[in-house]
Subunit: 304 residues, 4 copies
């Protein structure tokens, strides 16, 4: 398939809607990002790379980091992690406390903020230096040792973390957070503040298209079975209360971040990332969603 | 792949749990079904058929019928149907009124009872003789003109339809039901009471594995794009509040029914159906879920 | 206390807000009522009557009828009625299904539509001719044999009763409705469509200020203890999700109706009724709420 | 009325149920209280005192303190406080986050933990030394300068305050908490840990029966109108999701605490306090509720 040509067509077709949606506004570092930027990158499991637009501009990966910490913790601890977090879509927004209260502090899935906090809490319990470990895995799977967080973003997030603290204290009241909450929030802000380019992000997610084996670290990061399961969770829960819509229109497992990035995979074939900071009302990149919908339409490719 | 051998192995391995769960008990016709019966059938798009166990015993397809009426209405009306029903997983049980109230009478998805009632309401608006049309399509896609509903089941369902009537009147209060509610409930009970064997069910669902073209009716029943979308909805919403679990463990789009049937498809390859009447706490066939999980494990096959 | 003077002052002071709020609009018979009408009447247990404005104009008592049917059923059946309906405020709107679902078909209190339907269902079970019985009690306690329902209103209500049917079927699915639902809705519409004047309404409610003994029927309609309890329920639950606000600002047990009437009692002293059809956002008479707040302020009278 | 005789009768009649319910168990200081203790005290506005049982044993007043801080803040700031907290019953338990989320961080009423935290947050904003001020007012209105908190209880509460922290951070995320949360929780734990005897408690609440004027401080603590309103809030919201039940059975404005104390007032007449540490499933003193129900039955006294 002529991926480059498809990406070029998408690039042309999304031009009219670029800039039409505002970026996240809860911290200045995200609010001030140029919402005219757009990039799309695709990496195949045989190593081919395609891309167009601002594919080498860094952006905040935010919630996309949740997939990577989940992979790390899942490979480390195995199925016992599912005692502390579920795999069901939530039907609600990413930071809802309501469901968490009804379900006794067990988050519905690891891509809700509550669930990601539980995963990061596990990561802190495993590793003495959790931040270093997060950085190490990010660099390793994307084959780029220069990857770093934007510490200003991390700091701002911490200054606006009341809702996440409410989630964390709620879960602690049910015994589902084990570490100090201020430390947890700090590590969590650190992982969300990691910056990558579209190119790096599609590389980093290639392992999910490649049965858990990473071309760049040259080692297994997940078992074959775990990879399938993690892809299934991305499919079911990767887009908050727009997960069904994404499955319906795009048909690939993926994950979005409030920085405007989206990454998706076709198991056995490729990973694809797209970035534009303007967000729709559900908190997902407006142009990114459209670009991936166009990709599916033009290529005829989906898991369905 | 040696499908027959895999099915045989599954048949052997599920024996210990057959009979351990009770069938649906809300009407005597379902409560009295023999929960020792078990069948599993697989049909490939090239026409091969595999199976083991009670693959030629009729059972009530119940909610599995929702996929077929949805396909019929979707192909007839196109995307306008999504103004009256969503595509998001619900995170709640199949007959909840709560979400329906918050969302102004628009069901989350067409596989909730509320959503299926809206789809059947559309079908009634399109066809003068909706029951005949339902029977016609069921027979046509499974290549079997003998398929009929169990009218005793239909009658019993009508006698126990208070909850569905509540859903229907609630939606009518928001303007989202257009036809007479007693008639709607009667047609709905009729479609749920259709009986098929595992063999027939896997044939009937082959069109979803075959891009919308049916080998048996020898015609297109859905466009290619609609087929992908319908598969995506099965993936996201086919198992009530166990949809994520099914995606996680099985990794195939599918649909369950309270009669104990489950059907799933691997797009481009095959459809597979399994039946045992014993239900788990979420209302899905306990043995059926296990059998499909074993199928994925043994074959290594999933969309992920 | 110079009640007449206080009522005159209130009449003068509410003039500027009369006509500022629209009447109920869900049926034409209520929507077309003149929202410039205003009346206020007070009757003491010693038989004095005070009033000003349109105190002899008939209006639809609507939900105020729920108190009278509750009194009738409570006196007939005693405390067993509390097995089928609670006495707690709901915290939600008058026709919510959500809470009803969580609480297995047991309405929070008898002044929610769901709870009132249960009470009317009991009344139907007790009396062979429930409509006649409702008319008889209404006439008896207000000392006026001319009281009748507006049958056009009743008919219109039945034509707009989808939501109430949803509530009724929901409760029936939990076994908490015993009679035919169409009949139940008809009797319920009949009781809501009763018309009274302010004068008649304050007379009818005098029994609640008089320990359950009615001056007009000249007999006991409730025991002393039941009267206190019914007043307590009016206090806790008489104004939907504005019950706390009414207690806070007015401080008398009372009940509102969507026809714009409100009635309240000071136990041991008097009953007071007020009417203006314009409704606030909570569905209570805007001017009526203000008039009673002024009454409390001017008279210094409240149960607190 | 022969209050002493009534109290004696109650004392005798509740003996069989004393000790049948367990005390609060979330901190050892409450769990280890002797649940055989029982006291009941009544103070009239003319200064008479009645009592029987353990009326001079100290216990933790816990949530009863919420009424006193509310009175202090209400008298200081006036009606502006109602912009940050409502007056409606919640229909849910005392520490629910669900409703708080739906209602954008504005607690339903000041007797929920969330609402009480907002009131204490206001108190911290007003007074430089909030703890001293709390102690001063408690001592002043009960006419006893020896009143102190149990600092072990306060410390234990802080160590078990995850749920309250979750509430506080949630409200802060909506801008409805202004002070440091650790400090807020500390002051809140301090007020809840105040210890009083039944005798002291009935004296402290006499001001609510006396139109806001306190016999012991010899000054006005609330305006007449504010007193009525505060009594109305106690009536509507004083017993969590048992407020309707208390109104129904007891018919007096009151407030309970998890330490097993309950206090109630008859406006214009008296205040009455009762204590036994055993709690019913709603978190209110089982014996205390029964004792006050007996009081109403025997005396025929209620606001209704």
């Amino acid at each position: 398939m002529d991926y480059q040509n498809i990406l070029n067509e998408i690039h042309a077709e999304v031009q009219p809607i670029i800039g039409s949606a505002p970026p996240a506004d809860y911290i200045p570092e995200l609010a001030n990002v140029d919402n005219k930027k757009f990039g799309i990158s695709l990496t195949t499991i045989s190593g081919e790379e395609y891309g167009v637009g601002d594919t080498e501009v860094k952006f905040s990966i935010q919630s996309i980091s949740k997939v990577i910490t989940l992979a790390k913790v899942f490979y480390s601890l195995g199925d016992q992690i599912w005692e502390r977090v579920g795999v069901e879509p939530s039907g609600t927004t990413f930071n809802s406390l309501t469901q968490l209260e009804f379900e006794k502090g067990i988050p519905r899935n690891p891509f809700l903020n509550s669930g990601a906090l539980v995963i990061t809490d596990m990561l802190i319990s495993i590793f003495d230096k959790p931040k270093e470990e997060i950085l190490r895995i990010m660099r390793s799977i994307s084959g780029n040792n220069e990857i770093i967080p934007n510490l200003k973003v991390a700091e701002s997030e911490i200054g606006h973390s009341e809702r996440n603290k409410a989630l964390a204290y709620m879960m602690k009241s049910f015994g589902n957070i084990h570490n100090d909450i201020d430390h947890l929030l700090e590590v969590y802000a650190y992982q969300c503040a990691i910056e990558m380019t579209c190119k790096e992000l599609s590389k980093a997610f290639l392992l999910f298209a490649n049965n858990g084996f990473c071309r760049f670290s040259n080692k297994r990061e997940l078992t074959v079975s775990q990879t399938k399961r993690l892809n299934a969770i991305m499919q079911s829960c990767g887009f908050y209360d727009e997960a069904g819509e994404f499955a319906f229109k795009v048909g690939l497992p993926g994950k979005s971040g409030v920085g405007g990035g989206i990454v998706a995979v076709l198991p056995g074939q490729f990973s694809i990332s797209v970035w534009n900071p303007g967000l729709n009302k559900k908190g997902n990149s407006l142009v990114g969603m459209k670009a991936l919908e166009l990709f599916t339409t033009k290529s005829g490719i989906s898991i369905f």
